[in-house]
């Protein structure tokens, strides 16, 4: 697995302006971790992100009843979230 350049942690619903800005700022080699309300992007008809690894925090996915529609996103638990932040060169919380 190639290293993550920047890990973008997004915790806002797809309609939130910062969520829109985050999606526009992703670069090849980056990874996106959806947490809290941002996991709703898995249900919303959002555009797919070419070349970006997408993760979603499983406890937040379960809380919002979205276990069935994770699509391309890899589900991670809190320890795996920590691993992602340790592996990435940079971390940005949106």
């Amino acid at each position: 697995m190639t290293p993550i350049h920047t890990l973008h942690i997004l915790n806002k619903a797809p309609e939130h302006p910062r969520s829109v800005a985050c999606m526009g700022a992703l670069m090849p080699g980056d990874a996106l971790l959806l947490t809290e309300n941002a996991v709703l992007a898995l249900a919303a008809q959002c555009s797919t992100l070419a070349g970006i690894r997408v993760y979603a925090l499983a406890p937040d996915v379960a809380a919002r009843g979205l276990g069935q529609c994770t699509g391309e996103a890899a589900l991670v638990d809190y320890p795996a979230m920590v691993d992602l932040t340790a592996q990435a060169q940079n971390v940005i919380s949106w």
Partner: protein, 116 residues
């Protein structure tokens, strides 16, 4: 005086929707006519099978299912928001009515309160 409580924020990430629900239940407890409108990302309150133990919050699914019993007259879901979040009536708690036009709905109520 009829009241419409509008919830447009998703569950668990903020407390606003939860506290708006309390407002609706409180009106109903005082026998005041009240309905709920879920719109925008707020429609996600209505999705079935919310499993909240790992985020250490109480699920609101049970409360919502009990809303008609508590005297909440109607639970509306904005139809366009449901399409956006791929929610059909089958995916949602019982007793939800689709609203094709939320602006018409807003016009029918004397008193409107948004969540937070």
């Amino acid at each position: 005086m009829s009241t419409l409580i509008v919830i447009d924020q998703p569950p668990y990430g903020t407390w606003a929707g939860r506290e708006a629900l309390d407002m609706a239940f409180s009106l109903a407890a005082f026998d005041q006519p009240v309905a709920l409108l879920f719109t925008g990302a707020g429609v996600n309150w209505l999705r079935k099978l919310q499993e909240t133990s790992e985020v250490e919050q109480k699920s609101v699914e049970k409360n919502l299912s009990a809303a008609p019993i508590f005297g909440v007259e109607a639970m509306y879901a904005d139809a366009a928001a449901c399409v956006r979040y791929r929610l059909t009536l089958e995916d949602m708690v019982a007793g939800v009515v689709m609203s094709e036009s939320s602006s018409d709905l807003l016009n029918q109520y004397k008193h409107t309160a948004f969540a937070g």
